[in-house]
Symmetry: C2
Subunit: 192 residues, 2 copies
């Protein structure tokens, strides 16, 4: 159960066995079923999650319409970083696309780690840096690329999404109308 | 010369005298005159700057038109964080609004600090977290607020900008046409 998270953390920092054992005591396993909501707008996000298995979708509402902002798969970390850091209520939702097992680390526990095992500060720094780069990457993709370019880029960078996510969520993530996405796919298949 | 940066760092971490002395050996003082360019698009940003005095403007070009993204004043930190972290060329420019004195810390030196004085990791984490919150705040302001609301918010949150920055840069920063900004100002003066 803890192997994937150990592997993930070792990409950032080297923990001694006792340090990892202490870290494990702070984790809680949680299971969610497809379609369950993990976070809803108005709630404060007080956890960081490591995804052992499954898939999450992060979205928000504009005039009642769902706008898909991100997908998270097994072996990655998820939090509503803004709400987590600021303590303000989230404006987002997270739902479960496939049955999902999470390891949950509470904010207090993370700050305890920062104090008691300072090398976790490096882990925290790198997570924050990655979050920053991720948000810039996403903004630039949406601003600078055409719909077709966004689609082609996503296939290249994250093919997993096309195997596991319904097409209407992908369209929303790419900020393309579902009919336009079908048209682009057909056009590229014919071309290829 | 080092008092302001010491005060700024002490908001994040407590350094022993020897640690701060070592830190100081890694800093280089640089002076720039009004209108000079500190960074131009295509260059890789390899420094973090602490602003001892003066004011910087960070902007980018869209179809040849300058879009002002941020202002930085004395006692704050500046870097082109995306280029700095990724090592990719920047797409932005930084110019000098008032004669400015900077303390410059090279990327290699910062990573040396992370290794030799691990408590700088906390400093790095908090800088990254602040950068993340800053970019989210800016995006939400531009997306969710009307021109007038953005103007009123800026006066409230950062009155310094109105004392020291030419109005056409402020208009650009608020993503408002200069004529519209004048109209909003007049309207609010009449109201008030």
């Amino acid at each position: 159960m803890f192997e994937p998270i150990e592997r993930s953390i070792s990409r950032f920092i080297n923990l001694e066995k006792e340090e990892f054992d202490f870290f494990k005591t702070l984790l809680t396993k949680k299971n969610f079923q497809k379609k369950e909501l993990i976070l809803r707008s108005g709630q404060i996000c007080r956890n960081v999650y490591f995804i052992n298995s499954g898939c999450l979708r992060y979205f928000y509402l504009v005039d009642g319409e769902e706008k898909t902002a991100q997908f998270f798969f097994e072996n990655s970390w998820y939090t509503d970083y803004e709400s987590f850091l600021s303590g303000d209520p989230s404006e987002n939702f997270v739902d479960v696309i496939e049955d999902t097992e999470l390891l949950c680390l509470e904010k207090d526990s993370l700050y305890k780690l920062y104090s008691e095992i300072p090398k976790f500060e490096r882990f925290g720094r790198m997570m924050a840096e990655n979050a920053y780069l991720g948000i810039r990457h996403r903004t630039k993709t949406l601003t600078n690329l055409s719909a077709e370019e966004r689609y082609v880029k996503l296939i290249k960078e994250r093919p997993k999404i096309f195997e596991r996510i319904p097409q209407y969520y992908i369209a929303s993530y790419l900020n393309i109308q579902p009919q336009s996405l079908s048209r682009i796919r057909k056009k590229l298949v014919t071309k290829g």
